[in-house]
Structure formats: C-alpha cells, structure tokens
Symmetry: C2
Subunit: 351 residues, 2 copies
C-alpha cells in the first residue's frame, strides 16, 4: 500500500471562486478534429485530422468515442506518460448518457468521473481536474471532452438524411475533441503549457429562451453571470486579462454578452474572443453563427490558445466555455433552455 | 472580496483511492420517493412521499426534477442552512443531458458541477463532494441525484403505454431522490450523520453483456473491480466493514458479485447488502430482481443506512453504487453495456 501525503492550500474567494495556490499545470494537450474543422481558419493547428468524419467506425457515436480516445492517447504521449500514470480523468460529451466518453475512454482503465455540462464541459472538466491536482489528490489528472456534428444533429435535431434547414443564428457543432493532462509538477527541462490559477463555477441561468436554433442567446446570460461574478470575486476588471475567451457563443451570443456586460459596467470588447467564431469561416463554410459543441472550445484552446500562453504571447486568459442545458425531451416538452458557464484562469509560466 | 485560507492534507492511497484526513461530514440528508417505494419494506423511513408519481407536474421528467428540488430543499432545511450557504452542488441523473438535475436545481442558484455516472451517481457525487470539502474548497457542499421509473422507461426502453413485458432478471427503476449536505465542521450541539473518510474511484469495466434487461450482470464486474481495488489499496479485508452496500445490483447482480469476489479471495456475504434488494418486496410488488436507478442508492442510504451510522449501530460501511453506462443509442447500435462503481467509506462519528 503506497501513500503520499501532500499539504495544500486552497483559498475560497468571494461567492463562487477558488484561487489555486498549489500548482495545477497544464502539462500537455491534444486536439483531434474532423474535415470541416481542418478546412477552417485554424486548420493547420490541430494535432490530428480525420480523413473523414467516421474515424474508421460504423456509427457517428463511435466515431466521436474514437475522437476522445485519440485525443487522450496523443495528450498522454506528448506528456511522456502512460495511462497508468493518470490518477483520474474528468470527461463528458453532449450525447445522452455520455456515450462518447464511456466508450472512448474504456480501454484506458483510468478512474473516471463522468460529467455533464453540455458545451461547458471543457471548463467544468478543467476546473475539477485543476482543483483535484492542487488539492494533492492526483499528480497527473486528465480532462477530456468532445462533440461530433453528426451525432449531435441526430441527438438534438434530426438525422442528416432529413436535410434539415438551419437559420443564420444557428451554430455548427464542431467535430472535435480536446484532451488535457494536468500535473502538480513539471518534468525536468520541460515547460508546462500553462497553469490554472483560479476557477469560477457557474450557476444555471435561464432567460426563458425557447429557440433551440439560437444557442448563443440561450447561453450568453450564463457567460455574463459567471464573468461578472468572477470579476467581483477577485476584485478585478477586464484589463486583468489579455483575452477573455468564450467557448461557443458564436457571433450572436458574443454580441449579447458584450452588451450585457457593458450594461453592468464591464467593457470586454478588447479582450473578448470566441472559439466558435474562430474555428470556422462562415463566408466559405456556411456555418451560420459559428462553431459549437464541447469539442469547439476544447480543440481551439488546445490548438490555438495554449501555444500562445506557452510562448508568453498571452500572459493571462480567462477561459469561459458555456453550455446549453437542453435535451431533446426538454425542448419537445416546451421547456426553455437554461445555460451554464464555467471559468478557468490560465497563466503563462516563466521557466 | 472575502478569502478563506485552509490547510488540508490529502493522502493518495494505492492505485485509485484517497484517504480524507480532513473532515468531510455528512451533516444532513433527505429522501423523496414515489408511491411504489412508499409501499415497500422501507416505506415509513423516507422523508417525503409523493401522492402520485407526477409530483404536481405535467411530465415525468419535470416530476423527476421536482424530486431533486424537494430533496435538496429538505436537506438544506434539515441542516439549518440556506441555498446561499452551499458552495457547490454535485448532481446528476439518468436522463439524456441530465435534464432532471438541470431543471430541478435551477432555482437554487448554487454553483453546479453536473455529473453523469448512471446509477453510480450517488457514489460519484458523494466522492467529489467529500474531496471538495476535505480540500477546503467549500464549507458546505451538496450532492444530489434522482431517478424516476416512468422517465427512465421512456428514456431507455418504451413509454409505459406500450405495456412492455419484463423478464425476472430486470430491475425496477426507483422513483426517488437523495440529497446530502456535506460540511467541514459540525454545528454546536449537533452530531453529523457520519463522515466520509475514504474514496475509491471506479474505472469502466465491460464484460460484454448486451442484455439491457439484466443490469445486475452488466454492473457486478465493475462492483467487484472497485471493491477488490479498495481492499488492496487500503490493505484491508471485508471484516473492516459492518456493511458493504451496493446500489442496485439486485438479486442477480448481488450473487454474481459475491461469487466473483470469493474467486478473488474476498468473502463478503456476511457484510453485503444491496439497496435494490432492500427497497422493494418482489413477492408483493412484482419488481423482478429489485430496485435500480440513481434514486435507489441515494434514497436508501439516506433513509435506511445513515440513521444506523448516526446512532452507532453501524460503525463503518463501504457504500458502492454501480452504474451501467449504456444509452438507448449504444444499445440499439449493438454495443455492450459497460459498468462503473464508485466507493465511499462512511464512518460513525463519536460526539
């Protein structure tokens, strides 16, 4: 029986935040995406691109499971670890009963905490993984999430064969996965990609939006709520950050967010960017208001933002994926679409 | 901006366990169930029973959301707290996209970490809540989960109106919710119900079972794996515990579990009990192999076992809810049913 004692300090800050004084480094990450994503503005930056969106499987759901499996395999390899080194994995996806995560992660035999946060799952999983590492519960902890355009359409709207039409405010679910390896210390001569130093956890926010084709409007209030709480909890303002990055509000949701925060005294236009707006080029790719899904924020953080944090081009960012907590049943039964947003603070590490 | 510094010690034990040296008390809990459960052997013990299984709502899913809302409201009240005192809630259910949790918990405005662990969710949520409290991230943290017979049948099998027939090995999804308030310290002159002192986290275990009507067989291997790992991690044997309690293996799964563990050198027949076997009387209630669902373990732990721990009749138990990680889609696409089991150690507190 092996034991390892670790002292740690955690600080509860304000209403809903923690400051992590013990390190929770992002040691490595990996991104795996589909063909449409590879053809977008960030196409060259992703680690792995599928030849087609089936990823060698017979169904969309198993293709999405393979996305997670490949992303985690890559991330573990990049960190020069093996699955046995990973103490916990926090993982989730959009599908009912977390199907992609369960089937994708089965073979690793890593202790699993399954999550559901809709498209906020990357923020939720990074929050919990960082808190777990900083508390000393695990030296290496993974966070993984994914989405797949076809499995999401089948789950939430209609199978692709129905050729369903989409309004311009609709977003396009990203086929992608991002996996992160967090650790309490870095390996000798190796710099971490960054460090998670703070977490602000979301509450459910429901402004009564009932349009399942306008996820940006459904989620923007939750992003506003979490970001405003974050600023108040830490006694800071937007200038604290080089970037404030939402997961998949898209163009519509982004405008609502910046307007709402301005009304509350916070001007974030200079810092704000959105992964859903970054990942596709609507003019050439016809993706409406932008990308969405757990895999959107997860793949873009890994492929686009973390390298900038690692290099020091960005010193400190607030990463705020948002989720729309609807289900096909809730929508069909006339319920509104509640939202939630989880924020993590990621900082450059000077070596 | 308020801050609160807390030192904590956590100990990683063996492959997949932690020992919580800082207190994570179960301060209070509450159980809410439906009519069938109230007519069973434990009927008088539950806190609240619905007049019918609609709980005043128009749909089964919103009825289940109300179960969670009522259970958490009761538990918070019993703990003499308000929702504002609760730093985090860890919650999940069986429905796609955690519908019952999202809609049930919305009004509390408590920072939410949504989970998916199928019927293991009570173990998963208690694990994370205890680790969170012991790490100093929150003074009061809640864990909630639920299931509902009708919403589960509609989600996983068929709407009730189809009058689907069930084999004897099938289990009956419990209409119920259990909510727990964990805290880092007790109030003056008040004894906690118990204390969580250890956690062993599950890995996904898949023995290739494809029968969605035999959840016991699908989940027993996961229970075996987690329990065996727990014993090895802590260097103990079954005699350490007054009871080893599984969530909802039912009669079939329980027999498989005790056989599997015996083959591995662990005789647990004297200690083992199963919440699914406890909650219904099959002879009079026609519930097949027993109760199942997240609400099974959650309501039975609260109503039946925690009072025995609080009184000292039981000094130390191992509580091991299991989950079957199938979805309607995975089952229909011919996938097997993977399982997972999360174990928590709950001890009596001498005052």
């Amino acid at each position: 029986m092996s034991t390892k004692n670790t002292k740690c300090t955690s600080v509860q800050v304000g209403k809903r935040s923690v400051r992590l004084d013990k390190p929770a480094y992002i040691l490595q990450s990996a991104s795996v995406v589909g063909t449409k994503e590879s053809e977008g503005p960030l196409g060259d930056l992703f680690d792995l691109v599928g030849e087609n969106d089936k990823f060698g499987e017979d169904s969309w759901e198993m293709a999405e499971a393979t996305l997670q499996k490949d992303a985690l395999t890559l991330a573990i390899g990049k960190a020069k670890l093996t699955p046995r080194d990973i103490r916990y994995v926090f993982a989730g996806d959009l599908l009912g009963q977390a199907m992609a995560s369960s089937f994708g992660l089965e073979s690793f035999e890593i202790p699993l905490f399954g999550l559901y946060g809709a498209c906020s799952t990357c923020g939720e999983s990074l929050s919990l993984a960082a808190m777990t590492v900083a508390a000393g519960y695990g030296n290496y902890v993974a966070a993984v999430t994914s989405s797949h355009f076809a499995s999401a359409e089948k789950q939430f709207r209609f199978p692709l064969e129905y050729a369903n039409q989409r309004p311009m405010c609709a977003t396009w679910t990203v086929t992608g996965s991002g996996a992160y390896i967090l650790g309490s210390k870095t390996k000798e001569n190796e710099s971490p990609l960054g460090r998670i130093t703070g977490v602000t956890t979301g509450v459910i926010v429901d402004y009564g939006i009932k349009d399942s084709m306008n996820m940006g409007a459904a989620m923007a209030p939750a992003a506003c709520e979490t970001i405003e709480t974050h600023f108040k909890d830490f006694g800071i303002n937007p200038k604290e950050y080089d970037k404030i990055i939402t997961g998949d509000l898209g163009t519509v949701g982004s405008e609502i967010l910046t307007t709402m925060l301005k009304e509350r005294g916070y001007e974030i236009s200079r810092q704000h960017e959105d992964c859903g707006v970054k990942i596709f080029d609507d003019e050439t790719q016809n993706t409406g208001a932008g990308g969405s899904g757990c895999g959107c924020s997860a793949s873009v953080l890994s492929a686009y933002y973390l390298p900038k944090i690692a290099s020091g081009e960005l010193k400190k960012i607030l990463f705020v994926p948002t989720g729309a907590l609807l289900s096909p049943v809730s929508f069909n039964e006339g319920q509104s679409v509640p939202g939630i947003a989880h924020a993590v603070v990621i900082e450059h590490v000077e070596v």
